[in-house]
Structures are given as structure tokens and as C-alpha cells.
């Protein structure tokens, strides 16, 4: 894995965010993924998201496991802190990182092999704990780095490049997350940046685990006729079930909506998610309704996308534990719990 540094050319006319940074400042190194890889489009959406929300790069921790997906953190927010870990174990590292320093912005990038096979347990438990993080699952139904084996998200009947047909039922991360009680569940498509960016924005601002499953086709091993994770198949079967905008705190409204069409859901920091188009009888804040809808559409052969479920009332790990607001990492030893004097007191009880 070699690195190609991008030339840092700043055009004075480049748009700046609240921190005076341009989109360029949120880029990473040049991608070494295959040309046309869906992951690079996800990267572009992540760059846009972090720029738009004016996240200070040095306050970002980006973590990943192993696989093509794990390479992508290298390609965005170069000035962030990163941890490229072991296969399927990114969630536990974020859990520990977040426990020690809750003030950082955590983004975990994973793939279908990383999250739905070797790391399935870790994904489930990160959801269960509602660790405050943006969890992006780049889903292409195939193991790319090891040259094209089916992954656990491959659909029944999907054909591999070698001609092999998958007979195992897939594990669907959206249905899984909904059944586990995830507080933020979305599905995007790497080919639709306009839809993905507001989802990522809302996910980053959501307090708790925001799971964003992104169909991200593998151009080398899974973009052929017969694959159900190809660009063509996804374009033909995608149904944007829920259209939503993200309105950050302090941002002026820029779009006009007709009254009655829009439903607003406030997030913990005052930002707003504005649901513009939602199917009849579908309440995105109702987990059961979301599950029934997604399951029904998938049975009908569709790939429903959008911000499918949002529960802004859920408690993240720190709230549930009742930990102090000050990150553990910032506590001076004088204030360390239980502290020296308390320890002496505890020891006295062992006389």
C-alpha cells in the first residue's frame, strides 16, 4: 500500500467553511483503490460532510479494520488521527477510544466482510452500547482484497465473477441494526452523493451510533451481469424511500418546502433532520414500522435507501454509564477517581 501525496494547491476562490478551511483541507492521500470503486465516492461524500460541518480535523479519530474499506480513511481528512486496526475489530477500538476521550469525533469505516462476518459480534455490541460514532459500512457483497469471494451480504442468486452462484441468505445490516435497536439507521448508494451527504451529516451529529450502510459496488469483482451489488443493478432497483435533509444548528434554511409535506425531528444539539418524502404510513422514528417497510420492499426486490430510522432520544454509552463530562484522558491525577486519599480510605477497610 503505497501513498501518493496530493499536491496542495489552494485556489483563492475555493469556498471556505467556518474554520476557514476548504474542501481540499479535508481530503486525504490519493486513492490506490481501483478506478471507479464505489468507496472513492463514499470518501468524497465524507469529505463534503466534514467540510460542511466545519469539524476541526485534529479532533477527528478515524478508525477502520481490514479490507478495501479499511483503506479509505487514508483518503479523507488527512489531518485526522487514525487507527488502521485488525479485521473486524474497529468497533471495540472506537468503544475504548470513546470511553477514554468522549470529546473526539469518531468515524469508523468498515465493509461487509469486516462487519458482517469476522466482526459481526463487535458491530452488534457497538450498536447495543450505542457508542457515539458514525459507522459507515461500505457494502459490496464481495471480498475485494482477497480477490472476489462472496461476503455475508451477497444476495441469494447473485453470481460471482467466476460464475459461482451464491446460495446463502444474506445478513442485511439495516435489518440487523433495526432489530438490535440502533438509534440511527440509513442506507445510501455510493452513486448518489446528493442523498448520502445529508445522511452522513445527520449521522455525525447524532449522539449515539449512526449506522450508514452504503451500497458501494466493487468494479473489479462484483460489477458484472448477474451481480446484485453492481452499479447497474443498484440503479435499477434502488428506491429512495425516505428523502431527508440535515439542517445544522445556526444554519439558515435555504430550501422551500410546502407545509404538510415535511416532518422535522430535532437532534440533541438543536440540529434538525427534515424528512421531505416518506412513504404513506411510514414513521421513520418508529423502529417497527421501519423494519416492516424495509423488509417488505426488499422482498419485492427493491433496495430501499435513505435515512430509514432515527431515534434522537436514545442514550449513548456515556449517558447510560453516567460518566463525567470531562474526558477521562483530561482528568489530572489530583482528580483521578477514586484518587489517592480515597484509595487510602479503601485500603483502610482491608485492615
Amino acid at each position: 500500500m503505497t501513498h501518493i501525496e496530493k499536491p496542495r494547491v489552494h485556489h483563492p476562490a475555493l469556498e471556505q467553511n467556518e474554520l476557514g478551511l476548504t474542501r481540499r483541507d479535508y481530503e486525504g492521500r490519493m486513492s490506490t483503490l481501483c478506478a471507479g470503486c464505489g468507496h472513492d465516492s463514499v470518501t468524497a461524500a465524507i469529505i463534503e460532510t466534514f467540510w460542511k460541518l466545519s469539524v476541526p480535523p485534529h479532533r477527528v479519530a478515524k478508525l477502520s479494520g481490514i479490507g478495501c474499506s479499511a483503506k479509505t480513511p487514508t483518503y479523507f481528512v488527512k489531518e485526522a488521527h487514525g487507527f488502521n486496526a485488525v479485521h473486524g475489530r474497529m468497533p471495540s477500538l472506537v468503544t475504548g477510544g470513546n470511553a477514554a476521550n468522549r470529546d473526539l469525533v469518531y468515524i469508523g469505516i468498515s465493509g461487509d466482510g469486516d462487519s458482517l462476518s469476522i466482526g459481526l459480534g463487535q458491530l452488534c455490541h457497538a450498536i447495543r452500547r450505542n457508542v457515539d460514532m458514525l459507522y459507515v459500512l461500505e457494502n459490496n457483497g464481495v471480498y475485494g482484497l482477497t480477490k472476489g469471494q462472496f461476503s455475508a451480504s451477497a444476495d441469494v442468486g447473485s453470481v460471482a465473477k467466476t460464475g459461482e452462484v451464491n446460495r446463502q441468505r444474506p445478513i442485511d445490516p439495516v435489518l440487523l441494526a433495526l432489530s438490535l435497536g440502533a438509534s440511527f439507521v440509513a442506507r445510501g448508494f455510493s452513486g448518489d452523493k446528493a442523498q448520502l451527504v445529508p445522511i452522513l451529516e445527520a449521522g455525525l451529529r447524532h449522539r449515539g451510533l449512526a449506522l450508514v450502510d452504503v451500497i458501494s459496488p466493487c468494479v473489479t469483482f462484483n460489477d458484472h451481469e448477474g451481480s446484485t451489488k453492481s452499479y447497474r443493478y443498484t440503479r435499477e432497483h434502488e428506491v429512495e424511500a425516505v428523502e431527508a435533509d440535515f439542517v445544522p444548528l445556526r444554519r439558515e434554511l435555504t430550501a422551500e418546502y410546502e407545509a404538510g409535506d415535511v416532518r422535522e425531528v430535532a437532534m440533541h444539539d438543536g440540529s434538525v433532520v427534515r424528512f421531505r418524502k416518506v412513504p404513506a404510513h411510514y414513521d421513520p422514528t418508529d423502529r417497527d414500522a421501519a423494519y416492516a417497510y424495509v423488509r417488505g420492499r426488499q422482498e419485492a426486490g427493491e433496495v430501499p435507501t435513505g435515512l430509514l430510522h432515527l431515534d434522537p432520544t436514545g442514550q449513548d454509552m456515556h449517558r447510560a454509564l453516567g460518566t463525567v463530562e470531562t474526558p477521562l484522558v483530561d482528568l489530572p491525577f489530583e482528580a483521578l477517581c477514586p484518587g489517592r486519599d480515597k484509595l487510602a480510605e479503601i485500603l483502610a477497610a482491608f485492615r
Partner: protein, 650 residues
């Protein structure tokens, strides 16, 4: 005073007194009783699981320690979680060795037992736990029981026990307890505590205080009734037994704490400023987290019960990555699962403390029993070259202090430190000097100021391999840690030169740590015929054995290793001063004269293996995996055997 009826399995004449060990001073009379004044005595209380013998033993041990005795207690753990009543498999309790000096190990054989039924007593007899002349106080309700099966079991047991020269004294525990409580199963342990306390002259006020503390969360009435049972037991013993045992206190009156090794690890972790612990439940390590949970509940801290052993390691590494050095606690099977993550922490030079409370293995092995079989796995268990630190506390006091040491080393050397405790230390209770916590033990929060321009995350010092850790959130300190081979900037690098250079840096750190260590002290003379080398929880037993052998004039010494990686300096030179060197360990080794075993294929004790490789000295070994700690008497025999001394151990 009434003379107790003696129940004996054989026809040998009854003896009139409780039997002292050979090292006792002559008995003297007090209130018509023979008082045996002894340097040490081993007492145990054993019952069905759930009858409270553990509680009784713990209170007895704690009170004895507070009265100034040297103490070492060992839990007698049933083989099954919910064993049937009155079954040898259900034997549960506590074994307390009292001494008039510091007691460093569990000793040899039990001298006095109080047993709630004959089946649990049989279990102890069959385990070879009892001295052949032990005094046994036995609940006598079973020999008059209505159930003919129980009567048959009683007779069969008496016959089996009759093969030894025990003195069995019947105790009407059930009958006495029913005077106070409706359900004697809920009261016998306190009655037994009273009997033992009268025999050993334990302070009633301290006993009452300990009982009140034990039941502090319950109704006052519970405490009152338990104290009543205690008094009843004391009165019964005063009225019916013809002997007392006096083990004088030590002369050391300094402030002490009394706890087991897992409690010491938990408190040591807190003293070290490790308020973030992650674990997955596993025997015999879990109780560390129970103690931590109790303290964290009142004082703060995060105890993370992960979804599995792997995630437990991940959470600790994630926290350390974020700047708060954390630790994870496990036992052998969990170590196996954490292997991949240990490699990641070593490769990314993320500080991490891992406590392995060893149990019998491989695989699930003996979950509640002691072994020292994880040494080589702890040292070499990670694929790839993964240098890291391994240290082993030898005493309960060292369990406490090793956590402070481990955190400092982990942070200073940016590496993984494995602390090898074991089931013997985990459950053994011993008094030790009360630690005086120091602020520097906890360490300051990491410096999060901006990183100077040009500083790199792995700026390996060419001499020492050391570099300064950057923390996420630190301006200018951004880098991506990776398990892939990487250069000074943490850029993935497959360049052969970089790989050689980075491997050297990680390895060099151990040599640098070793340069700060001193050779381990020698117990005994600095040269001689035999040097016994140990590590971990066997220290007390080895030194006691060496002391006994030296008292016989044998030229034997011992040394004990705290650091296993890196090994301390000076071992080759030290070994050269002795005619023979051998390790004593609780792991498996082939006997040299067994079939097929040759010097070339003999699998030796794990420390012996390591020492031979590192010193080129022909280090011998004696090891046992008998699911229990080593007895000083057994080691003493081995020393005599190796020095070709004929005749039995005195």
C-alpha cells in the same frame, strides 16, 4: 467438663488431647485444658457448597491476621457449580495456615478440620490434604440419621477414614444451631467459627466486628443471630473440648491490609491510575472486576464488560490509543483469544496492561485450579516477532505493586505488559504492609499540547528504540496507527530497510528495560551445590523448603524471577556459582527416566526451557500439575533428592 465421645473408624485407643505437630512446644494446662503452643498450624473448614464455610474461613483468617498472626488462606472450591448435598464433589470451604511468623505459602498438610458432613471430609481425605494425625471436628447428626442410605454412607466413610490416624471428635452442630435458628444450614458456619475461635483463642470483639461487616447490607437481626451462633460455638468448645491451640502473633506490629491477590490487583490498578478496565467474565480472573466494580461504583471509573475476550482487548487498546492507558484481565483461554490484538498493540506501540490469572490448561483445562503453564504462551504467543514485557508477582503484596509497575513500563516503553498472576494468588489471602499510595503512581494525564513541527509518531531513538507517543486530539500529532509495517511517520512501508529498522527499535526497548534491572536477590548463600529458580506464586513455598533444607546443612539457595521478559541481568554468572541449577514450577515437564524420554526430547518446565535458551546453562527442573499449589514439604524432598540425601524428610 465433659469428655467428648470419640468416634474412630478403627479400634486404636482414643487419645486424650488434640494433636500438636512435631514442632510444638510442650503442652501446658489452662483451665483443665491442654494448651499447645505452636509456630504454625493449618486449619480448614469444609462444608457442602452453600453452607457458608467460605464465609466462616474468611472471617477466621481476617481476624487471625488482625490479631497479628501470619496468615495464608486458600479457598477449597467445589468441583461443580451446584453439586448435590453431601457429596465429595461439593466440598467447599477455606483452609487457613496460621503462623507466628509471616506466612508465605499454604504450607503442607491440614492439622485441624471442622467438617459439616463426612462426605466433604472424605473429599479432603482422598485429596491427600490432611495430615495423617489431623484432628477432625465432625458434625455428628448423620450417624443418627433416619435415612438408612445416609447411615450406610456414614459407616463406609468411617471405615475409609479409619485407614489414617485421625482423631475424630463429634460435634452436635445441627442440634446446637437449632436452638438459635430454624434452618441449621444457615447457621452452622457461624457456630463452627465459634468453635474454631475458642480453640485458637480468637478475639471476640474482632469477630463480632467482622460479622457485622460481612452482613452490613442486611438486617441487624441477621448480625445479631450470627453473633449468637458464634457465642454458642465458643461456649460449646469451651465446655466440650480438652485442648486449645495457641499460635503466638508475629512481632511485626506495622499497619497491614488483608486481601487476596485479585483484590490486590484491583486496588493496585486503581493506585496505578488505571480507571478503565475491560474484561470478559472468566475464572479465576473475574473477581478482579467484581472488586473494581464495587470501588468504581462509589468512586468512579469505567469497568467495561465486553462482548468477548477479543473486544475486551480492543476496548483497552482503543482507550490507550485515545490517551488513557487501560488494562484488561483474563485467564489462559482468554489470552488465546487476545493474541491478535496483543500483536496490534505491540506493532502500533500502544501501551497496554494485560493481567493473566493463570489456571490449568490447555483449552478449558482446570478453571478454578492453579497452574503456571501460560509462561511460554505469554512470552511467545503472538505470531511475528512481538517483543513485549512479561512480569510475574510472587506474593499478594506484589500483585498490588505490579500494577503500578506495569502501567509505568507500558507507557514509558510504549508496549504491552503482561502480568502473570495465578489461581493460587487470586484466591489466597495474606496480610501485607499497608501501601501508602503516592500521587506519582497514578501518572499525569498525557501531554496534549501541540506537537512541535516535524515531530514524527515513531521517532525511534536509534540507540534505545524509544519514541514519544502522540494522542488523538493533539494538534500536529495526527497520524494513522497501523498494524502494517510502517516507518517513523506511521506510513505503511514495505521497504526492507524500514522493516529491519522498526523491528530493531521494538526489540531494543526490552534490552533498554533490562539495563535498568538488577540481578534478582539470592535466598541463602551466593554459591553452593544447588540453586532453585522459581517465578510467580511458588516463591513462599520454595523459600520455606530451602530454609528447611539449609537447616539440615544442605548447600542450597533459591532465586525468584519477577521479570520473565526481559530476564534480569546476571543470571548466567549467578548460575555459574552453583553446582546445579533447577527450576520448580507448576507446569508439566517430562520425567527424565520416563519411557521414550531422552535429554534431547524431554519437555522441560517452561522457565527451565527459557533459562536454558538464554543462559546455555544445563538447567534442570521439577514440576507438578496436581491442580494445587506446591507444598514446601514436596520441594524439600526434591532438594534432598537432587542433592542425593538419603532418608525421609524429618
Amino acid at each position: 467438663m465433659t469428655t467428648p465421645t470419640e468416634t474412630r473408624g478403627d479400634a486404636a485407643p482414643a487419645k486424650a488431647t488434640g494433636r500438636p505437630r512435631a514442632d510444638a512446644q510442650a503442652g501446658r494446662e489452662a483451665d483443665g485444658k491442654i494448651v499447645h503452643r505452636l509456630d504454625q498450624h493449618i486449619v480448614e473448614i469444609v462444608s457442602d457448597s452453600g453452607e457458608g464455610a467460605q464465609t466462616c474461613g474468611k472471617i477466621f483468617g481476617t481476624v487471625s491476621a488482625r490479631m497479628g498472626n501470619g496468615v495464608w488462606t486458600v479457598e477449597i472450591i467445589p468441583a461443580e457449580i451446584e453439586p448435590p448435598a453431601r457429596s465429595p464433589a461439593g466440598a467447599s470451604g477455606n483452609r487457613i495456615r496460621l503462623g507466628s511468623r509471616e506466612v508465605t505459602n499454604w504450607g503442607d498438610y491440614t492439622n485441624l478440620v471442622i467438617a459439616f458432613n463426612e462426605q466433604v471430609l472424605l473429599a479432603r481425605h482422598r485429596a491427600g490434604a490432611l495430615a495423617p494425625d489431623a484432628t477432625i471436628l465432625l458434625e455428628d447428626m448423620w450417624k443418627r440419621h433416619d435415612d438408612p442410605d445416609i447411615l450406610d454412607q456414614w459407616s463406609a466413610a468411617m471405615e475409609e477414614l479409619g485407614s489414617a490416624d485421625y482423631r475424630i471428635i463429634p460435634v452436635p452442630m445441627e442440634k446446637e444451631c437449632l436452638e438459635v435458628v430454624d434452618d441449621a444450614r444457615r447457621g452452622k458456619n457461624m457456630f463452627a467459627l465459634g468453635v474454631l475461635s475458642a480453640i485458637y483463642g480468637r478475639d471476640r470483639e474482632l469477630l463480632e466486628g467482622a460479622i457485622a461487616r460481612r452482613f452490613a447490607k442486611k438486617d441487624d437481626e441477621i448480625t445479631r443471630r450470627n453473633v449468637e451462633l458464634l457465642d454458642r460455638g465458643m461456649r460449646w468448645a469451651e465446655g466440650h473440648l480438652d485442648f486449645q491451640i495457641e499460635v503466638p502473633p508475629t512481632s511485626d506490629a506495622s499497619a497491614k491490609v488483608v486481601m487476596n491477590g485479585n483484590q490486590a490487583i484491583a486496588l493496585g490498578a486503581i493506585a496505578a491510575g488505571l480507571e478503565l478496565a475491560s474484561m470478559y467474565p472468566i475464572t479465576p480472573a473475574s473477581s478482579v472486576s467484581h472488586y473494581l466494580a464495587e470501588i468504581f461504583q462509589d468512586y468512579g471509573g469505567i469497568l467495561h464488560q465486553a462482548e468477548d475476550e477479543i473486544a475486551a482487548a480492543g476496548v483497552a487498546i482503543g482507550a490507550s490509543f485515545s490517551g488513557k492507558t487501560a488494562f484488561t484481565i483474563t485467564s489462559g483461554p482468554g489470552m488465546a483469544l487476545k493474541t491478535e490484538f496483543l500483536g496490534l498493540a505491540i506493532m502500533t506501540e500502544t501501551p497496554l496492561v494485560v493481567v493473566d490469572v493463570q489456571r490449568g490448561g490447555p483449552s478449558t483445562g482446570l478453571p478454578t485450579r492453579v497452574e503456571q503453564s501460560d509462561l511460554l504462551a505469554a512470552l511467545f504467543g503472538q505470531p511475528g516477532d512481538a517483543p513485549h514485557v512479561v512480569l510475574a508477582p510472587a506474593t499478594i503484596e506484589e500483585c498490588f505493586h505490579s500494577m503500578v509497575l506495569a502501567r509505568r513500563i507500558a507507557e514509558t516503553f510504549r508496549t504491552v505488559v503482561i502480568v502473570l498472576s495465578d489461581a493460587n494468588l487470586a484466591t489466597g489471602v495474606q496480610p501485607f504492609p499497608r501501601p501508602e499510595p503516592r500521587a506519582e503512581w497514578q501518572g499525569s494525564p498525557p501531554d496534549q499540547g501541540a506537537v512541535p513541527d516535524g515531530a514524527r509518531p515513531y521517532e525511534w531513538d536509534p540507540r534505545t528504540g524509544l519514541s514519544t507517543r502522540f494522542i488523538p486530539g493533539q494538534e500536529g500529532g495526527q497520524f494513522t496507527a497501523t498494524g502494517l509495517a510502517h516507518d517513523e511517520e506511521s506510513h505503511v512501508a514495505y521497504d526492507p530497510q524500514v522493516n529491519q529498522r522498526s523491528s530493531r527499535a521494538r526489540s531494543r526497548k526490552l534490552a533498554v528495560l533490562q539495563s535498568t534491572l538488577t540481578p534478582p536477590p539470592i535466598y541463602g548463600e551466593g554459591s553452593g551445590d544447588l540453586l532453585v529458580v522459581g517465578w510467580g506464586s511458588t516463591k513462599g513455598a520454595i523459600e520455606e523448603a530451602v530454609e528447611r533444607a539449609r537447616a539440615e546443612g544442605l548447600s542450597v539457595s533459591s532465586t525468584h524471577l519477577t521479570f520473565l521478559s526481559p530476564l534480569p541481568p546476571g543470571l548466567t554468572e549467578m548460575f555459574g556459582r552453583f553446582g546445579r541449577v533447577m527450576t520448580v514450577e507448576i507446569n508439566y515437564s517430562d520425567e527424565p527416566d520416563d519411557p521414550f524420554i531422552t535429554p534431547e526430547n524431554r519437555r522441560r518446565g517452561q522457565l527451565a526451557w527459557l533459562l536454558r535458551a538464554q543462559t546455555l546453562v544445563d538447567v534442570d527442573c521439577w514440576t507438578r500439575v496436581m491442580a494445587e499449589p506446591l507444598r514446601p514439604g514436596s520441594i524439600h524432598e526434591v532438594i534432598r533428592d537432587r542433592l542425593a540425601v538419603t532418608g525421609g524428610v524429618a
